[in-house]
Amino acid sequence: MANWYNTETRDEWQDQINSLRSVSAGVECLQSFRADHTGPDRKTYDLKKEVTWIESRIEMRLGQLHSEELISDEDLLSKTIDGKCAKEVVGEWVKKAADIDCKIKMEGLCIAYRKACKPPMVPINYFAAGEKILISKLMRLRAIGALDQTVEELREMRGVTRLSVQ
């Protein structure tokens, strides 16, 4: 019987994910998937609700490959997937936010941070702490004067196109 939790789309992606054999291939796959299919700046919405399921499966596979390649528990908690110091990497992102006072720029930074650093790219203990700082700042920038902007101004800010049925 057909159902929505075992679809052809998921099967196709699962086959592709199972064929990943190295961390570098997994990283490339995840980066490309996140660029194409996640966030408001994604290239396509074709995968619809399957996006989060597929992303989680790539993350799981990549996490597995990463743990098989790494020996030290310490490194799992302190280094990024490509072996850099997680604290420094996250620190760089937080530093980038320091001078931003525009909510659209800050929003772009938060989206980019999530795509680049969400585990297993960066260990969760560093990723979450960094995201908390960035999102808190975004929330502050967004809340100021939020009720004063007109819908027309907001549409222009987002670059949306109004539609009607002909």
Binding site: W4, I135, M157, R158, R162
Partner: protein
């Protein structure tokens, strides 16, 4: 050892656990317990600075909580399992109401479940030990309420003459177009985003504003329709709500004295009110008035008294001296209180195969009541219901489907992207100002400007695949079958457009309608507005 476990261990070392269960000693211990983690900041983002000196209003929590809740549980489950069993209460409920409870209690369970996480989020964000204790007590309450709301469906499933739907609504609701709305208001609203904004959604709006019209009205309507089960459980829930309202008040107090934090408050209050109202006002009004045989007070009157006068006027009025104002969207909400539940009822009837309940169209007596209390109701809605009846709405052999009728008559149904509720621009009498937008190659529908504004402010927050996008291309009977929408015989539908046990619709009847779910944002000829 994880750092949080270590912190707990160190805190317990500094404040040894009481040697007895003497209430005074336990209370004193909790007052002294500092939750003094090394990093007080918590895990989740917030734009607010919460005052470290905030007090918790319920000093009795520690010494009385367990005893009080234990007595409430004994009374409630004792009444249900002994008294009400023997009185056959499950079968004394009017069937119309018994059907409504299939969705009402199940949907509210989502709110209670999300509130567990929402209260825990606040525990994480709070700086004051007493305030943390207050939120922690709420976490325990919400666990209790989740069990209670689920127990109503469980009890009905065992004792009501038509258990189908009470038994598996958690499964079937996944295809109910009305269900994502509760996830948006209660799920996202209670636990996603800023912790203080979650508190405003949960404690300040949903609990302080809406639990009176929701739970008090619900139990009143239930009792009028022969249901002793719902008041037994929901009034027990309501006795905990006062503590939660107080928590909401304390949340506001803890941030209002900080000028930096105060400037964010009004935006969050406005957004939270619209988020909660957008779902609760139509859903509760629909459940009470269309799910009942015997009517009580019209929803618009209850809403005006509890939401408009009591909450927006008196409760928020007390905060006016600090600079808090009533939400700007209140006037539109007031218009919705008159008509939004009628709009929703019409769409629920049009989409009946996906609701999971047996739903009867208003009879003559109900139509007279609607017209008397909502002048103009008959000309707008009543005539449509009568036309559907004459075309064979109830008859499985007639081949009539109101959904097709709507499409053929130019009444397109869309899903509002922010609230995630369905709406029909050409038949809506509520505060409607539809807009259709395209951004980054995707099309979005909005039923009104407040929701559109929320999405434009935070587009990533409202990522959501609506019913039409998700199930586009599915044949309707296949979808209903796949979602578990059939009874134990494997063919008769869970949902029915009448309350009888005869002439029940089957999968075959539905299949004959040959409805393939379209995505209106794709099939219509959308063009840019210049």
């Amino acid at each position: 050892m994880a750092s949080s476990n270590l912190a707990v261990k160190e805190a317990l070392k500094a404040n040894p656990v009481p040697s007895s269960v003497d209430p005074q000693e336990v209370h004193k211990w909790l007052q002294d317990f500092s939750w003094d983690f090394k990093a007080k900041g918590g895990k989740y983002p917030t734009k607010y600075n919460l005052d470290v000196n905030t007090r918790e209003q319920f000093k009795l929590t520690a010494k009385e909580y367990a005893r009080m809740e234990s007595i409430k549980e004994e009374r409630q489950y004792g009444t249900l399992l002994d008294g009400l069993d023997r009185l056959d209460a499950g079968n004394k409920v009017h069937p119309k109401w018994g059907e409504a409870m299939k969705v009402i209690s199940n949907f509210l369970e989502v709110g209670e479940y999300a509130a567990i996480a929402g209260s825990a989020l606040l525990w994480d964000a709070a700086q004051s030990p007493e305030q943390k204790n207050g939120y922690l007590a709420q976490v325990m309450d919400e666990v209790r309420h989740t069990n209670q709301t689920a127990y109503v469906n469980y009890y009905y499933g065992k004792h009501y003459y038509d258990p189908a739907g009470h038994t598996n609504m958690r499964q079937f609701r996944s295809v109910n177009p009305l269900y994502p709305g509760v996830r948006r208001a209660f799920g996202d609203g209670f636990l996603a985003g800023d912790a203080v904004e979650s508190s405003i959604n949960l404690q300040v709006v949903a609990e302080a504003c809406f639990t009176n019209p929701l739970i008090v009205s619900l139990t009143e309507w239930a009792a009028a329709n022969g249901d002793e089960i719902t008041p037994t459980v929901y009034l027990s829930i309501e006795t905990d709500e006062l503590r939660h309202m107080a928590n909401g008040y304390q949340t506001l107090v803890s941030v209002m004295t900080d000028p930096e934090s105060f400037k964010y408050l009004q935006t969050d209050l406005d957004n939270a009110f619209w988020t909660q109202h957008k779902y609760l006002t139509p859903f509760v009004g629909f459940g009470l008035e269309y799910g009942s045989k015997y009517k009580v007070e019209p929803w618009v009157k209850s809403w005006n008294r509890w939401v408009y006068e009591d909450w927006a006027g008196i409760w928020l009025g007390r905060l006016q001296k600090f600079g808090i104002k009533s939400p700007k969207c209140l006037a539109d909400a007031k218009k919705d209180a008159m008509w939004a539940h009628h709009d929703l009822a019409l769409l629920a009837a049009a989409l009946w195969p996906l609701t999971g309940i047996r739903m009867e169209l208003p009879d003559e007596e109900a139509m007279n009541w609607f017209e008397a209390n909502y002048p103009g109701w008959y000309d707008h809605y009543g005539k449509i219901y009568n036309e559907w009846k004459s075309l064979g709405f109830e008859d499985p052999k007639a081949g009539f489907c109101p959904l097709v009728w709507m499409m053929q008559n130019g009444h397109g149904i869309f899903i509002d992207h922010t609230s995630t509720l369905p709406f029909c621009p050409t038949l809506s009498k509520s505060a409607s100002n539809p807009s259709f937008l395209e951004m980054n190659g995707k099309r979005f529908a909005f039923s009104e400007g407040h929701g559109e504004r929320q999405w434009l402010q935070e587009p990533e927050r409202y990522e959501f695949q609506n019913f039409f996008e998700q199930y586009e291309g599915w044949e309707l009977s296949e979808l209903v079958k796949a979602a578990g929408g059939v009874r134990s015989d494997g063919k008769t539908l869970l949902s029915q457009p009448h309350l009888r046990s005869t002439d029940m619709w089957t999968l075959e009847d539905l299949k004959r309608l040959n409805i393939v779910i379209p995505d209106p944002m794709k099939i219509m000829n959308w063009q840019p507005v210049h």
